[in-house]
Amino acid sequence: MDKVNILLIDDEIEFIETLSERLELRGYNSEIAEDGETGISMITTKDFDVVILDLMMPGLSGLDTLRQIKAIDKKLPVILLTGHGSTKDGMEGMQLGAFDFLMKPLDINKLIEKIQLALK
């Protein structure tokens, strides 16, 4: 069975490097992008099954990155990460077509659950 390819987009490099390692230990392929522009560029050249995207990033914001991802591939599931107490950005992301959102710090089991749901 083909491995699932995940793209992690977040300006906190240590966070996505470590998360990437944990996902790989669980049998997923993962790549990282430290900003929205790099993430968009990777999506146009490689196939990913799910994108994990941080909402608060310098440069191209999480929501603008989401808009561009959806313009490239409407069906690519995007799971948003937010550190905000309020879910306002999360809800705005859902209206823009995000699959779901999770709060930071993450519970990796909840993330895996969302990834599996997104793949169905």
Partner: protein, 218 residues
Amino acid sequence: MDSLSNKAGFFGKVTASTTHEQQNVFAIIKENSGLMEDILLIHKGGDLSDIEEKLKKCITSVKNQAIRGVGVTSGLNYFAHTTDNIENSVNVLELTKKFIVVTERMFKQKNVTITISEPEQSSQALIDPVFFQMVVFLCLECLAEHSENTGHTFIEIRFLDNMPDITFLCNESSLSQNDYRDKMTSSTQWEEILNLCRQANFTAKIVADVLGITICLK
């Protein structure tokens, strides 16, 4: 908007950004802790020498994030305590430096980098530190928003030796100086800066030849 609502809104913005950064600190610590657990689980009962480097890397990351977290919390704590006295004899440079540490990430999100040019002799001023920080914040916001830079914006904060004035200079703008000045001075932030300065007994001026604002504290 009244002064109390302005102050509340200001505190909300600054603490929201700082606590968001703190969430990132905890997120990295949590992932590294989880990775160490994963590694130890996989190698249970086996030789741990080949995973020593991986574990050391995780531990270093946790330590560094803890240091980062202490910095964030200390900055936020200092910021919270600036409300302790309505009027205080304040080292203006030190207060500005600590405030920039707390708001750095927020401006980084907007592609703005802030530098401070330190004088040889910094000055004290008898001011309301909360009003001062609000004015600093609005000046930075005003310059950043109206530069219309598509790339990065650099703002320098300058002090003169033994003078309580503070100047904010923007590196460049895609607008002409006159257009930039017109845009800034017709903005709501400029109106708020003038309003706050009136309440705090400061004076705000547009710098004549460059893209900037000077705040005279007395």
